[in-house]
Assembly symmetry: C2
Homo-oligomer: 438 residues x 2
């Protein structure tokens, strides 16, 4: 509180609906990290901003301040267009495992820094951990060298990357100040900017399984993220996509890897494959490829097995067993108890997406709090989606459990979470909107 920053004045201005200038925000975050502004002052300021709203200029400056708090990755020595892809998180949302190799096959270079899952959404690192031998702790040099040769590397973000975001997030989590578009966007974009890619494609999820329930607020968040990225000289775009039901057929760590491999092998279609293609084409568009050509190119690369080859090389480069790309179930850990759930006859009218994610977590696939151990083998295979007809005796889901009790618990839960009706139901749109793309 002995700061040179007139912090109480800034708090009062924000409280009364005013705007903070770029220099004030940079000074404020620097003073916070130097313990000259305390948690209570920062919490008061954040709450004022959550209620009054932050301007786009404030979000841009806050992002700059967060990036300035730590290390940044320099990818400028790489030859190809550097690309990053980020999802705001959902259930059965393992698109990175397909989009990464697919974009690498298209000549892009992806140095992806990722995180662990928390709550009902999974983390890319947790999924990759289910591949025996796979290492996620790469040094910046190892990361860059691998991207140079393979086109793709996925590593754990270090504590030195955007430390202010980690500290702010921990504060927001306990002070009711998470729900702010500007705070969410600056948190997401600070990590993308620090990651060094020149092109950033965002997948902003909307629906019950995402943290944004309605398309309008998701589009607002997407536009804010795109404004922040473009203000900092990155080509940035976003798809706003459906999370009203789980995306992939697999929900759980090894299960999601298996579904990704199936998709890379061309043996699985559906909404997951379609979104992987849409995201990959969108990212290619950012690098200058025309829309129709981008879509054709990514479909051809996927169908020709080029993305699968790139996935195999990527796994091998990070110490994982590359045969996961050929026969995933020979390599991935399997759950001891597997059983189907057959709901009877009807049309799927709704799936409680968030609670499906939480059910997978209860089986052991997720964490309730940081540091919890997860079980890579367990989870759910969801064999139907909204609008699908189920016949009597046809399984709608397959449970991968640690115990018979868990299987019984999951079957009972599924009966509550998957709703069947008689009338035909239109499936929800997969892509609600595009921001920054033609």
């Amino acid at each position: 509180m002995a700061s040179a920053v007139p912090v109480t004045e800034l708090i009062v201005r924000k409280r009364d609906g005013g705007e903070l200038r770029r220099e004030e925000i940079l000074d404020l975050i620097a003073a916070y990290l130097a313990d000259e502004v305390d948690d209570a002052q920062m919490a008061a300021l954040l709450m004022a901003g959550v209620i009054r709203g932050f301007t786009t200029d404030e979000a841009v400056a806050l992002t700059e301040a967060l990036v300035a708090s730590g290390d940044t990755i320099d990818l400028s020595a790489l030859a190809g267009p550097t690309v990053d892809k980020h999802s705001t998180g959902g259930v059965g949302d393992g698109t990175s495992l397909v989009v990464g190799p697919l974009l690498a096959a298209a000549g892009c270079q992806l140095a992806k820094l990722s995180g662990r899952g928390l709550g009902h959404t999974g983390g890319t690192l947790d999924k990759l951990d289910s591949i025996p031998g796979f290492r996620v702790d790469l040094t910046p040099e190892q990361l860059e060298a691998q991207v140079q040769t393979v086109g793709l590397a996925i590593a754990a973000a270090t504590a030195e990357l955007v430390p202010a975001d980690k500290r702010l997030y921990a504060l927001r989590d306990v002070t009711g100040t998470v729900a702010s578009p500007a705070l969410i966007a600056s948190s997401v974009m600070s990590k993308k900017l620090a990651g060094g890619a020149a092109h950033v494609l965002l997948d902003v999820k909307v629906g019950d399984g995402a943290f944004l329930p309605d398309p309008a607020s998701a589009v607002d968040l997407a536009q804010l993220c795109v404004s922040i990225g473009e203000s900092h000289g990155r080509r940035t775009a976003a798809l706003v996509t459906d999370m009203s039901q789980p995306l992939a057929d697999g929900i759980g760590n090894a299960l999601e890897v298996a579904v990704a491999v199936d998709t890379l092998q061309g043996r699985r279609g559906g909404r997951f494959r379609e979104l992987c293609l849409e995201l990959s084409a969108g990212a290619l568009q950012l690098t200058g490829v025309q829309a129709a050509a981008a879509r054709t190119q990514v479909e051809e690369l996927l169908d020709a097995g080029a993305a699968l080859d790139r996935f195999r090389a990527f796994v091998a480069a990070q110490g994982g067993d590359p045969t996961v790309a050929d026969d995933p179930w020979q390599v991935l850990p399997a759950a001891p108890v597997i059983g189907d759930w057959t709901p009877g006859d009807g049309v799927v009218s709704a799936i409680a997406c968030r609670r499906i994610g939480e059910l997978a977590g209860r089986l052991g696939a997720g964490r309730r709090r940081q540091g919890d151990r997860i079980d890579p083998a367990v989870g759910l295979e969801l064999l139907v989606r909204v609008g699908d007809r189920v016949d009597d005796g046809q399984p709608a889901a397959r449970v991968h459990a640690r115990t018979e009790d868990d299987l019984a618990m999951a079957r009972a839960a599924l009966a509550e979470l998957v709703e069947l009706g008689d009338a035909p139901v239109d499936p929800p749109p997969l892509v609600h909107d595009r921001v920054g793309l033609e």
Copy 2:
């Protein structure tokens, strides 16, 4: 943060405009004092409340929670009606020094716990300290015994009285969360409730020299304080009074005691005497005396010297030199440099009240921060008020300074702070409103 209180849920509810229940507020403050809710969480909640507003029920419950955090004074053994009087603070606002003895002379019993001044407003304890020998550190037993015999005691509030208010105020001070009617009212009223008096008269100041600039917000605050007091079983009322110019002729510690003695001796009239009578009559009304009778009674007691006698006994009981009641300038410390300020010819059209208070502070009469030493002798005598005519060569103020430089500084400042014009000006009303009184 490991509290049983679902604090984040409470913060989010308040952030979104909801209301906290009484039990939730009691639990929250108890958990805060037990360090189970941290400063950041409390600051976020306070900011949400400052912006969204607290309901009267919330303010009543918060006051209860603050009182419950520490000791309370039990005055139920006293024979007469117990009365407390509180001003929200202003410049030249030493009415307690007259109202206290006057109410004691009328048969009331006042056990007043008071504080020190900070910023541009003076504190009653600082004023009393200028009387040689006067002690303000009474035990609860000494306080009660003195009230029993003299009818009046004024002591320093101990750290055990409403400790939660002290902690909250320190937090609010650095987090931009001072400006909330509910937080201000609960802070004021918690101390009045803990002080034990059955009848509470508030003097809510409004104008440039107070912290509330407009009458409407002052009336709102007064009504809230009265609601809180009545909800807790205390007969409570408030006068909303003018602080657009200094109240008493003296601004400074010994100077304010001297003006009070002059008033008790019947040798000084004006707005200060008038407000002392209004406040005393208002307090008597609370104890059941009819309005006109109350006014007549306090005027008669003041004019008969009964209040002066009570003041003399009160000073003697607390170790001070009682002859201050007979010839204050033989007893009180005098400043070494005294000089008049003569502005020339005109009608006083405005006095910058807050800055007059700050000027007295710069002369040494006030504190910039807690712990600063004050100079009891210095200050200003203000010889005119808005609407008064000043003739050429007639002094409008007298400066009591430590040095010649200070005198010159004060004269230059006064020329900026007291505005003279040609046209006649109506003086501002002394009492803007009454809340809870006929």
